[in-house]
């Protein structure tokens, strides 16, 4: 299997809900072996993008292909290698066990043992009725199912929403364990701290389209995340902290620093045009 070719390819995508334009001209590619983080404010189109990729929405113009197949045509050959975990869903009135038995039938790489192991990790009992579980438990069961399907493309919309703090830590761990060389995982979130140290590359969307699409290495090459006693007038973003000012500044000297996703997100939103040019 060629792991260098993009699995997901979006080409000049235009999408709108009646008069509300979501994407005017969006182009991006997703390569296997990576966990893409889709960041953006509410309503910029993160969910719309994920739903378009898995064929739940059809673009006005432009094209979205998954493994070379148009996603909107919902080809079964494409669908068997893609799974979408929605932010909100209605669990069916059957047991989790029954749900996974019936829904896994059409996925060739389904691994039941892996699912039960993930359920143990997440502390979910699959013999319970799906709709009777709490929202957090339902979400964990669905994430465990989605990961155990081993599809080449896994899309997760706000997976950490509704999870307690220990579950968020477990979520980060299991996702990183399940990320393989031939798999693309795309996670949308507006709670960037929940997915810190997990997502790479980062895609930041806004109402004008995509502002940034870069991996952590590229970001740390161009930006310096630092604390200084005085504010830097050239900083893209700064915030007072106990030790002085936490800032995002241009990395002219190529100094190493640890990328802080929340600071990056805020800096990007304040300097949209600059960042577009910086990461072009």
């Amino acid at each position: 299997m060629d792991t260098n070719n993009p699995v997901v390819k979006i080409d000049h995508l235009k999408f709108n809900y009646k008069k509300h334009i979501v994407f005017e001209d969006l182009s991006l590619e997703m390569e296997p072996g990576r966990i893409y983080g889709l960041l953006g404010e509410n309503g910029v189109g993160k969910t719309t993008l994920l739903r378009t990729i898995c064929g739940l929405l059809r673009a006005e113009s432009g094209e979205c292909t998954v493994m070379g197949m148009r996603s909107a045509s919902r080809n079964p050959e494409m669908l068997k290698d893609i799974y979408f975990v929605p932010e909100l869903f209605v669990a069916p009135p059957i047991s989790v066990k029954r749900f996974i038995q019936s829904n896994s039938l059409l996925y060739p790489r389904w691994d039941a043992a892996q699912f039960y192991k993930l359920c143990l990790t997440f502390d979910v009992d699959p013999s319970y009725r799906f709709d009777k579980l709490s929202h957090g438990q339902q979400k964990k069961a669905l994430i465990a199912f989605a990961l155990a399907l081993n599809t080449r493309v896994l899309l997760m919309d706000e997976p950490s929403n509704g999870l307690d703090i220990p579950s968020k830590t477990t979520l980060r761990r299991v996702i990183s364990e399940c990320a393989t060389e031939d798999r693309v995982i795309a996670i949308s979130t507006h709670q960037v701290r929940d997915l810190e140290n997990l997502i790479d590359p980062i895609i930041i969307l806004d109402r004008s389209g995509m502002i940034l699409n870069a991996n952590i290495e590229q970001i740390s090459e161009r930006l310096l995340f630092t604390v200084s006693p005085t504010p830097d007038p050239g900083a893209y973003w700064s915030e007072t902290s106990l030790n002085g000012y936490y800032q995002v500044v241009p990395n002219h000297d190529g100094l190493p620093s640890r990328v802080n996703l929340e600071a990056l997100f805020n800096a990007t939103l304040r300097n949209k045009e600059t960042f577009k040019k910086l990461f072009k």
Binding site: L56, P76, E77, L106
Partner: protein, 279 residues
Amino acid sequence: MNATFSIHRLGLTIYKELQEKYMIILTSIGIILMIYLAFWALNLIDGEPVSTAARAASAATTLSIISCLAPFFLYKNENRRMEGVFYAVSPSSTLEKTISMLVICSVIFPLLSTVLLMSLDSLLTLMPFEASYSGSIWGSMFSSKEYLDKITNILNFNTDPMSIDMVNRMYDTINPLSIPPIVGLALSQSAFVLLNMLFRRHKIGYTLLTLLGIWVIVAVILVISAVSFFDNIQSNPDIDPELIYQWMITMYKAVTLTYYIFPIAFWVLTYFRIRRLQY
């Protein structure tokens, strides 16, 4: 593997849907059987013997109603935005999803209900109660003979200007064309399936209102054409009875044809509706 149709995938799709829906199917059939048992118990209390034809008619009516309502129980959420996500992204083609719906709604569910209901009736005939059921309804349940008799009775209402000979000729023409009740059921069920997939909320209410609206429109058109037809006969008393005969046969053929065409058309429309789910 073919993107449009694969028999293996279809089999898996039907199996998947049956695994998810078997409880709904069994509960619905349980309700039908309970209603039938209640009907039997009422007859016992009443003490009057019930004819085989009456039992067959009541069983057929119950089965028709439940078969029409089945899509609302079995495919309640599939066309809804939030609840229907898993259905829309499940890896089978639109054709396979449509055929699976057809097999479950129009074959498995009605067949299972019919067999179980008739078996229950047969079991009840064995009960050693006075005024209990006797005779089998298996033969008369879906017979088209009664339907045909009704038609010929209607046509017999007036032998003037049509002669007895004409009625006999008409019977001979209609006989091979007669619509089996199963086709009538297929027509109404396919309409219910389509409307179930069209409406996202208040499905049963909107479906009944829509069908009522269509029924009113069709009734108005039929009344207008019948009035103008009889006006024509009255204004032309010398009209050739052969012409009337030909007109009635043509009308009957047209109606018969729609009985066969509409279920197919409704299922094709359901296919396109499934293809556009979530869009």
